[in-house]
């Protein structure tokens, strides 16, 4: 039972950065923009939150720093793609390269230092409940925040006017524009929101998962977050399912190795990537499912006045 609880907690902790980054990217893609810079925004969030937390001793300020810094470099992406009409794929790649480089540069003197553990959400009696207490009420508050963000995004996209406008812009920017909605403004806001979420995901890595700064510590999670959005077929609640499955594969693969199953470590580590490919293929095979939720204008240039 203890092993089960340990695996369960491990999965939740491994998945939360993916949940945060993926739900942010989902909103961006719903508005019709493909931002491939998730990895770069995550690592910027990871390094700034670490530095600010280390210098001020406040985890909260660290999180704020992650949200602001990642939102800022996301707005650079927004400026280029929305107002200078640059190619989204190339700009996203530039964001990733730039973010990884800049993070290593500013984190240079901080590498190897570790932080105090992140405070656990500790409601006295709830945590004491056997099994369920450890399964549900023994986490840091960011995990609960990530779930709240997912549910809010679901509510926002489906039940609020602005959410429906955003979806409409993603489906047909020309019609939305003729109705008088500001396509560029809504998309820019979505991009900044996506960046802030990715930044929080990065902060989770450097403040909670392994409370230290390591160069390139995102290790491809930004790309997996992009795959999770497709896996979820652009439905917010499915982002949770997708992220927990991917986190699960990572953790279970570690435990299988620990038990001593005799497959090379490298082949086990391939699992999350191979599963991502298989899932992507299966989802794209089923065209009807994709068609309902996929934003029609994804990665298409919007040029008003042209």
């Amino acid at each position: 039972m203890d092993l089960f609880i340990a695996i369960f907690q491990g999965i939740i902790v491994a998945s939360t950065p993916l949940v945060l980054a993926a739900v942010g990217e989902l909103v961006v893609e719903k508005s019709g923009v493909l931002n491939l810079g998730v990895e770069g925004m995550m690592i910027i969030g990871a390094v700034t939150s670490f530095i600010v937390t280390y210098e001020t001793g406040s985890h909260f300020l660290g999180l704020i720093a992650a949200v602001i810094s990642a939102g800022l470099i996301a707005s650079l992406f927004g400026l280029l793609t929305q107002y200078l009409l640059s190619n989204q794929v190339a700009t996203g790649l530039a964001l990733t390269l730039f973010g990884l480089g800049l993070a290593s540069l500013i984190g240079q003197t901080y590498s190897g230092i570790s932080l105090n553990a992140f405070p656990v959400f500790d409601v006295y009696l709830l945590t004491e409940i056997p099994i369920i207490g450890s399964l549900l009420f023994n986490f840091d508050y960011l995990i609960y925040l990530s779930i709240i963000i997912v549910v809010s995004v679901y509510y926002f996209l489906n039940k609020t006017k602005l959410g429906l406008v955003l979806t409409a812009i993603g489906d047909s920017h020309d019609s939305a524009h003729s109705l008088g909605y500001s396509v560029k403004m809504v998309r820019s806001l979505a991009i900044i929101f996506g960046g802030s979420c990715a930044g929080l995901g990065g902060a989770y890595l450097s403040l909670v998962q392994t409370p230290m700064w390591v160069e390139n510590m995102t290790a491809g999670r930004g790309w997996i977050a992009l795959a999770i959005v497709v896996f979820a077929v652009w439905r917010p609640l499915w982002v949770l399912v997708g992220a927990y499955i991917f986190g699960g594969i990572t953790i279970i693969q570690l435990h299988v190795q620990a038990v001593g199953v005799n497959i090379g470590a490298q082949y086990m580590s391939m699992m999350p990537y191979l599963v991502t490919i298989i899932v992507l293929v299966f989802i794209s095979m089923n065209k009807n499912r994709l068609a309902v939720n996929a934003p029609n204008c994804l990665n298409k240039l919007f040029t008003s006045d042209l």
Binding site: L85, T91, L93, L97, Q266, S269, L280
Partner: protein, 353 residues
């Protein structure tokens, strides 16, 4: 705010001005960055961008680093012209290195002039094979080729590592994760004695010329151009829409695979887990900086190679982290994309409503 008006014709001189403006902006950015982190910006820029060009060693290393960048970027440029996004050249490069290296090792004690050509052949096949996976899914099910080719990069890097830790490990190597050193029949001839500059650079130069010819004079170039304009036009020109998807991945896979075997039989000389160092990603910038033009790519490859060597020099001499190379490359691509807007569109200011 401002508005953008599409220009009717694109100024031909933008082929040169856009990359130059982008390089200028990036230099200004790193100049400010050096000031902020308290290093002498003039000295740092001199060490990174000028000094490597002043010695035989620096120049020969420039050639060594530029070779894989140019070859991979030439292959990628075809797909990018046609709107097919192969982001996984790093993986195809790694598989080329692994397949080619394994072929060289398979004939270990034997020597012969046929070993290198055979390993090149196998490496190119490996690169194509790896590139065909995303191409097939893209053509068959319209699966996103960006994500699939990228995921396959991680798989390829782990596969190389698994092979070098396993079957390809040097039996006399005290259990270190590296293969045997290739013998003379498995290493590329050196152009300038005493340096690492090898014949692969001439291959890169030849391929740039070949690509230029194909794009300008051959029907192939016409299809590439047409498919970049629209899929419908490609269909009217007598090809199916999937033709360009397969062709792009075959070419970029083959070129990346070739670059991989050139890297292991050239400067590296054996298989190690650290062969993939990001050339496949940097080559994307090379392709864009070179404006997808074969000779543009040639010079862009040399420039980006300079940032690698200069970055290493700055690390040793100034204690700057190697990451400065990545920052410069990212800023360069940003400035390039921004500068492009000013050539495609007429920018005019307008009052806010």
């Amino acid at each position: 705010m401002f508005t953008l008006q599409k220009k009717d014709t694109i100024d031909q001189s933008s082929l040169y001005t856009v990359p130059l403006i982008a390089i200028g902006c990036s230099l200004i950015f790193v100049f400010i960055l050096f000031l902020l982190i308290g290093k002498n910006p003039f000295l740092a820029i001199f060490i990174i961008f000028i000094e490597p060009l002043l010695s035989v060693f620096g120049l020969s290393e420039l050639i060594v680093k530029a070779t894989p960048l140019i070859i991979i970027a030439l292959g990628l440029s075809i797909g990018f012209r046609a709107g097919v996004w192969n982001i996984g050249a790093e993986g195809q490069f790694t598989i080329g290195a692994l397949f080619g290296g394994a072929a060289i090792l398979a004939f270990y004690p034997t020597s012969g002039i046929w070993i290198l050509p055979l390993s090149f052949f196998i490496a190119i096949g490996g690169g194509i094979l790896w590139g065909m996976i995303p191409a097939f899914f893209k053509a068959r099910f319209n699966t996103n080729e960006i994500l699939v080719s990228l995921m396959l990069t991680y798989v390829a890097i782990l596969f190389l590592s698994g092979m070098v830790y396993g079957p390809l490990k040097n039996p006399e190597g005290f259990n270190f994760p590296e293969s045997r050193l290739f013998h003379d029949s498995g290493t590329l001839p050196i152009i300038f004695p005493g340096t690492r500059a090898h014949i692969g650079f001439l291959i890169a130069l030849f391929l740039a010329g070949l690509m230029h010819y194909l794009l300008k004079r051959h029907k192939f170039g016409f299809h590439v151009k047409v498919s970049g304009e629209s899929t419908r036009a490609l269909v009217f020109s007598g090809r199916t829409a999937n033709y360009m998807v397969y062709l792009s991945f075959i070419i970029s896979g083959a070129f990346a695979g070739l670059a991989g075997v050139i890297e292991v039989s050239g400067p590296v000389g054996q298989l190690v887990p650290a062969i993939p160092v990001g050339y496949g990603f940097t080559a994307i910038i090379v392709a864009f900086l070179g404006r997808l033009n074969p000779f543009g790519i040639f010079f862009a490859g040399l420039l980006l190679a300079l940032t690698y060597i200069g970055g290493e020099a700055a690390q040793i001499r100034l204690g700057l982290p190697n990451a400065i190379t990545g920052v410069f490359q990212g800023v360069l691509l940003f400035s390039l994309l921004a500068a492009e807007a000013f050539t495609k569109y007429e920018v005019s200011l307008k009052k806010m409503r």
